[in-house]
């Protein structure tokens, strides 16, 4: 394993402190925790948004702490859900009487740990609501499984629910708009090369020079199938087919697009992929209101990308266009 680290046990701690050193005006650490909150005085009249998960997805989640998005982010060990006590610390450090919305990605561990934290907060009479993002169409949805994974579509939840909370909406309204995003966002990813978890020291799976993994998650967990590597356009077409088969995105609809890098794929390739996304959607009469291309929900050093589509209505569109100012996502 070759990595730019100082020791596998220091990865999360030094990453968080490095993020703070880069963005002292945006984020600060709750002492003795792996929680990042907004720099400065606690808000006084706002529903707070808390997200988090395992580390290794940077800039998620700390990179989205700031005006118009999150109030706190909890960092677990690499690819491991943060523990309930840490999530509870995030709630306590940010909540200001109007309640907290926990934005959870649909993984067994994340759901359990955030639920336990919510129970701890409720015991202290803090009002907590939860939403679970499950946007990955690679995983079949069924009452008999854990359900779909939460991946890059989560960023849209941060952005839109964050804007709603910033406008002063109450907890029920913020939760409702987050759920509207979740109902209208779908994603799918693929990998050209695996990632290596520092503490494990070897790649999470192996691919030959000719193989790619389709339907990959964001933790190196296997995807739906392997196949021979093909062109960017053919790969985009395959992922989009699966997303469009959901029946949510139709002729005349307006959508937001995210082409998200997994960490090891150059922006040039993400833009190449995005061109095909734009062409395919144009061909189907689906209008793109906003496109976001970059590394937002990564998987360490994995090479690959995901595509997310979010169907917009007037409310979602306005909230998506609202200002945001965070280390990893800023718009006027």
């Amino acid at each position: 394993m070759k990595k730019l680290i100082n020791g596998v046990d220091n990865v999360v701690d030094e990453m968080l402190n490095g993020m703070i050193a880069a963005h002292p005006d945006y984020v600060a650490r709750v002492p003795g925790t792996e929680v990042l909150v907004r720099t400065g005085a606690k808000k006084t009249d706002k529903v707070v948004l808390i997200s988090g998960g395992g580390s290794g997805h940077e800039p998620a989640h700390g990179g989205f702490v700031g005006e118009g998005m999150l109030d706190a982010a909890v960092a677990g060990a690499v690819f491991t859900s943060p523990t309930p006590d840490q999530v509870y610390e995030a709630i306590k450090a940010s909540e200001c009487g109007k309640g907290a919305l926990l934005i959870i990605k649909n993984y067994t561990g994340d759901v359990m740990n955030f639920e336990m934290a919510a129970e701890m907060a409720e015991d202290e009479d803090i009002e907590v609501a939860k939403v679970v993002v499950a946007d990955d169409v690679a995983v079949e949805n069924s009452t008999w499984t854990t359900g779909r994974r939460g991946i890059a579509g989560t960023i849209f939840v941060h952005k839109i629910a964050g804007a709603k909370a910033e406008q002063g909406a109450g907890l029920a309204e913020v939760k409702a708009v987050a759920e509207k995003v979740i109902a209208n966002v779908r994603s799918m990813g693929m990998a050209i090369a695996p990632c290596t978890v520092p503490a494990v020291g070897k790649p999470s799976f192996e691919l030959t020079e000719e193989e790619v993994e389709i339907g990959i998650g964001i933790h190196g967990e296997p995807g739906t199938h392997r196949e021979k590597v093909s062109s960017a356009n053919a790969t985009v077409d395959q992922l989009l087919d699966k997303i469009l088969a959901e029946g949510i995105y139709n002729d005349g609809d307006e959508v937001a697009v995210m082409v998200n890098g997994m960490g090891g794929t150059p922006l040039s390739e993400l833009y190449i992929a995005n061109l095909e996304v734009a062409n395919v959607l144009a061909g189907k009469g689906i209008k793109i209101a906003k496109t976001i291309v970059g590394n937002y929900m990564t998987s360490l050093d994995m090479e690959g990308f995901s595509i997310s589509l979010l169907k917009l209505d007037d409310e979602l569109k306005a909230l998506l266009e609202a200002p945001a100012d965070t280390p990893a996502f800023t718009q006027k």
């Binding site: 060990a77 309930p84 067994t108 854990t146 494990v200």
Partner: protein, 206 residues
């Protein structure tokens, strides 16, 4: 001098730490390759933090559960944390345990894990080892076996449960994303639960 309950937890912790790479490798096949790493991190903290001289079994188990809850993460943290805390409730105030107490402990552990994990038997989880182990323990105790012999029966049932997890597809946990592709692989959680039970048996049998 270290108390019995400390020595028992110490043996469990050392066995889990010894099996770190094996458990992680199992998780790499059908999960996200962190089960052994996470459990070992948790038990390293447990061994460093729990008091060696506290005879109160309930308190030591509760503390063990709380440390696992705050150090393990993933799904294993809440599940094992809940298991030890529920066992601690059953043992509240006790400094010794009778063989029959094992039944109440199994029941509380199973109920706690089911509630937290929303899983039942047959979903390729730790419950596929623990539920049959509890049943075998209870049957053995009812037929007059010693705690050690009952734990032998429990471990045998747990091992069979691990073998059974190879034959079924996961419907809970991260392995459920693989569906049918998870068949053929043993469940890492059922395996670590069996490692735990075997450590308890070996401790009880000396």
């Amino acid at each position: 001098m270290a108390t019995k309950i400390y020595e028992c937890i110490e043996l469990i912790g050392n066995r889990i730490i010894e099996q770190k790479d094996f458990l992680t490798d199992l998780d790499r096949e059908i999960g996200d390759a962190d089960h052994g790493v996470n459990m070992a991190r948790g038990f390293t903290e447990v061994l460093a933090q729990i008091p060696q001289d506290n005879e109160n079994i309930g308190e030591v188990l509760k503390k063990t559960g709380m440390i696992l809850l705050s150090k393990v993460g993933g799904a294993s943290g809440p599940l094992y944390g809940t298991a030890y805390m529920q066992a601690g409730k059953v043992c509240a105030g006790k400094t010794t345990l009778a063989p029959e107490d094992g039944n109440a402990i199994f029941e509380a552990v199973v109920a706690g894990i089911q509630k937290r994990g929303k899983a039942v038997k047959g979903e390729k989880t730790m419950l596929d080892a623990i539920i049959p182990a509890g049943d075998a323990y209870k049957a053995a105790i009812e037929s007059g076996a010693s705690a050690g012999d009952a734990l032998d029966a429990a471990c045998k049932a747990a091992e069979e449960g691990v073998e059974y997890t190879k034959t079924i597809a996961a419907t809970k946990g991260r392995a459920s994303y693989l569906g049918e592709r998870s068949i053929g692989h043993q469940d890492p959680g059922a395996t670590s639960a069996t490692v735990t039970l075997e450590a308890i048996r070996d401790f009880v049998k000396g």
